[in-house]
């Protein structure tokens, strides 16, 4: 047993940290909040050159063939630097379900281009009901000849407006069990009948409302088997939750580091505020929260990677913990900064707002606590 990074992961982390420090400065993060696309094509290309988009894609499809724990290490750095753009949607919500369920032809068609940074993807899953479960998928797809026709609305779709393809979950059959009758489609984002509208969010990230009006999808673009899409979505959600946790680990650590530094430098009553126990104890609690986030996330990533029998439990535990612990960390961050923390110019607010976004994505603490309780009951 070893809770730390192996040598290769240390290298990946150190490299990513140096790279992002240079290539993803605070100024870029701020620019992208105002930018319509929400990402820098230049940075995207440079990240692709590092092989990051293909990190977990098998080598035979042009990837690096690395593993889920490696991705977690990288995404921790993404959280530290608040890297804007469709990286997680492309890798986790696009490439991963294709790796899980794609035909050989689909893998050949998509994975090498994703790995090369040529394709941007996302998954269109949630709808106005804002549910993560299978019964939240009401959008209909009906068959017409060899094509399928999609109608309906997807909401909270990350970065959809800049994608080339979306994995769309739609209902092709209705029955007693909502997990049956869901089919996944690889949909060209420029198909006629698709409209994107950007949502204005707390994190100034780019989530979309995506409307589908008689959108035709060729039969060859069904991902996996008709009616059997939910297990693929489910598995993808697990990795997406681990990705969100990893991002939160880095985000919380950085918010904490900035705050700790501030507490050492800010002088009131003739001494650094970090010399007051009221501040020290907040910071002690915060570092426990950060450490807890890190180790439960590592364990969840590892369990998923190794297909451990309790992998799903670990993922839910991780997301339940990280969602709230990271919120406590950034709340302390705001409080310890006092007034300056509330200003737009100072950096700590960037972390505060994005924490809430990742807290909500892929199930908040209440959602995952319930899943934990369900698994205890078995």
């Amino acid at each position: 047993m070893d809770l730390g990074l192996d040598e290769q992961q240390e290298m990946l982390r150190n490299f990513a940290r140096d790279f992002l420090e240079k290539e993803c400065p605070e100024q870029l993060v701020r620019q992208m909040e105002e930018d319509e696309k929400g990402y820098s094509p230049d940075l995207w290309r440079k990240m692709a050159e590092q092989g990051w988009m293909g990190l977990i894609i098998p080598e035979q499809y042009g990837g690096a063939g690395m593993r889920i724990t490696d991705l977690a290490v990288l995404l921790e750095e993404f959280g530290r630097f608040l890297v804007p753009g469709p990286f997680i949607p492309t890798v986790v919500l696009g490439a991963y379900p294709i790796m899980l369920a794609g035909s050989e032809e689909q893998k050949q068609r998509f994975l090498p281009r994703i790995a090369a940074g040529e394709l941007i993807m996302t998954m269109a899953l949630t709808e106005p009901s804002a549910k993560w479960d299978a019964d939240g998928i009401q959008m209909e797809a009906r068959q017409e000849g060899s094509d399928w026709v999609l109608n309906g609305t997807k909401l909270f779709v990350q970065d959809a407006h800049v994608t080339d393809y979306m994995v769309v979950a739609a209902r092709t059959a209705k029955g007693a069990n909502p997990e049956e009758g869901i089919t996944l489609f690889l949909v060209d984002s420029r198909s006629p009948g698709i409209k994107f509208e950007l949502l204005r969010t707390i994190a100034s990230d780019k989530q979309c409302e995506v409307t589908f009006e008689d959108v035709r999808v060729p039969g060859e673009n069904v991902l996996g088997e008709v009616g059997k899409g939910w297990p693929v979505v489910h598995r993808t959600k697990l990795l997406a939750a681990v990705a969100a946790c990893s991002y939160l680990v880095g985000l919380a650590q950085q918010d904490f580091d900035i705050t700790l530094n501030y507490a050492k430098e800010r002088v009131q009553f003739g001494r650094p505020i970090g010399s007051f126990q009221a501040i020290q104890h907040k910071l002690a609690d915060a570092v426990i929260d950060v450490d807890g986030c890190r180790f439960i996330t590592y364990k969840a990533a590892w369990s998923l990677q190794e297909n451990e029998p309790d992998a799903e439990l670990m993922v839910s535990m991780a997301k339940a913990w990280c969602s709230e612990a990271s919120r406590r960390v950034v709340a302390h961050g705001q409080q310890i900064h006092g007034g300056i923390g509330f200003t737009k110019d100072y950096k700590i607010q960037l972390y505060f707002r994005r924490q809430k976004w990742m807290e909500l994505m892929w199930g908040d603490a209440d959602y995952h606590r319930e899943l934990v309780a369900q698994k205890l009951a078995i």
Partner: protein
């Protein structure tokens, strides 16, 4: 990154488990080692000693097994999980012994270590005083050199097992003029020495575990000074470093949570299955998550040590988190048990054998003993995070 124990370590866990099943009564409950329970504890610890399991973490040359850190962790987990009665042997095994191994003379080692390893002697720890709790270095008990002896006068408090102990590790002031950390010495004291009075200090659970110990002109041979005179504080803080991962607390909490899971799943209760109540589900989900965090924070301490690093504030984190988590778990358990939660173990109507009533009180002591939560937060902030002292 690897969260799996080696097959050999897993086999060791199985060995410990099956030994415990053979050597503990099926319905064994955690309890204060008094009366019959004391007799059984003595019997049990002698059997442990036959296996070398009183001091499995010591080097072989001193009668230990030289177990790897992970096996020590496994061992402690299983002992706590199975509520194994250890009496007060851990004070000798985890505190006195390791300090003697590091600082003791050959003679001291020969005299004390084998007897600790064989569970022949019990030790107690004379550190805290009425005016030296969190501020331990403020201790006032005096030891004055007189020829080949020291004469000790003063008072100790919270001395667990002093009424059962054969020996005590004692901190006493030998230089009242020096700054307070630099005038303290570390002694090994025979509890049968004339002038020692042990008085019970009954806790709020109505148990006798703690004592007050009074010293009136107690003569301690100078050869029972451990290490150098006036260096006791630094030796004591190393001693405080030995029992660090707090894994025992996490494992005991895990057992309690499992009890609680079984309870909330029971559909034969007159009030119905508790797990169907969303408030109960929320509490159980949260408890399970917190428990896993506690376990990982303890494992992290060992993982660091295995990598050759010396944990410092990480151990404080494990202690702080696991005791506070254990207290929260006890509160959750009581809330779920409702009116039944208040019943003591001996009550005919008690549920889960009244364990949560006991635990709720006991954990309020655990967040104080061994360094209060507030002291742990201070240590984390100052040693770990480098924040300035006031």
């Amino acid at each position: 990154m690897d969260f799996r124990l080696s097959p050999e370590d897993e086999a060791f866990r199985q060995e410990v488990r099956s030994w415990l099943r053979e050597n503990l009564p099926r319905d064994w409950e955690d309890q204060v080692p008094e009366g019959e329970a004391w007799e059984f504890t003595r019997h049990f610890t002698r059997k442990l000693a036959e296996k070398g399991w009183v001091v499995p973490h010591w080097p072989k040359e001193y009668g230990g097994l030289g177990l790897s850190l992970w096996r020590q962790l496994i061992f402690r987990e299983e002992m706590s999980y199975h509520r194994a009665p250890l009496g007060y042997i851990s004070i000798g095994a985890d505190w006195a012994g390791p300090t003697i191994i590091v600082y003791g003379t050959e003679e001291q080692k020969r005299e004390h270590l084998p007897r600790i390893a064989r569970a022949e002697v019990m030790w107690c720890q004379g550190f805290s005083e009425p005016n030296a709790g969190s501020d331990l270095a403020n201790l006032e008990t005096r030891a004055v050199r007189d020829g080949d002896e020291y004469v000790v006068n003063g008072q100790k408090i919270w001395t667990s097992g002093a009424h059962r102990a054969d020996w005590m590790i004692l901190l006493a002031r030998t230089d009242p003029e020096a700054p307070k950390h630099k005038g303290i010495s570390y002694f090994l004291v025979d509890m049968k020495s004339p002038g020692i009075t042990v008085r019970p200090l009954i806790d709020m659970m109505n148990n006798h575990g703690f004592n007050q110990v009074f010293f009136e002109n107690v003569r301690v041979p100078a050869r029972n000074l451990l290490g150098e005179e006036n260096r006791g504080w630094y030796m004591a803080t190393t001693t405080l470093n030995f029992e660090r991962s707090s894994i025992g607390g996490a494992a005991a909490s895990r057992r309690l949570l499992e009890d609680l899971v079984e309870y909330v799943r029971d559909s034969s209760l007159p009030e119905g299955r508790r797990l169907d109540d969303p408030r109960v589900r929320y509490q159980m989900g949260e408890a399970a998550v917190e428990l896993e965090i506690g376990r990982l924070l303890s494992y992290r301490v060992v993982s660091l040590q295995e990598r050759g690093q010396v944990p410092s504030y990480e151990a404080s984190i494990a202690k702080l988190y696991n005791t506070e988590m254990g207290l929260r778990l006890a509160r959750r358990g009581l809330a779920i048990l409702g009116l039944y939660g208040q019943l003591q173990p001996k009550s005919r109507w008690a549920r889960l054998r009244g364990r949560f009533e006991r635990q709720y009180q006991w954990m309020t002591a655990m967040v104080v003993g061994g360094g209060t939560s507030e002291i742990q937060r201070n240590l984390i902030a100052i040693r770990g995070l480098g924040l300035p002292r006031d």
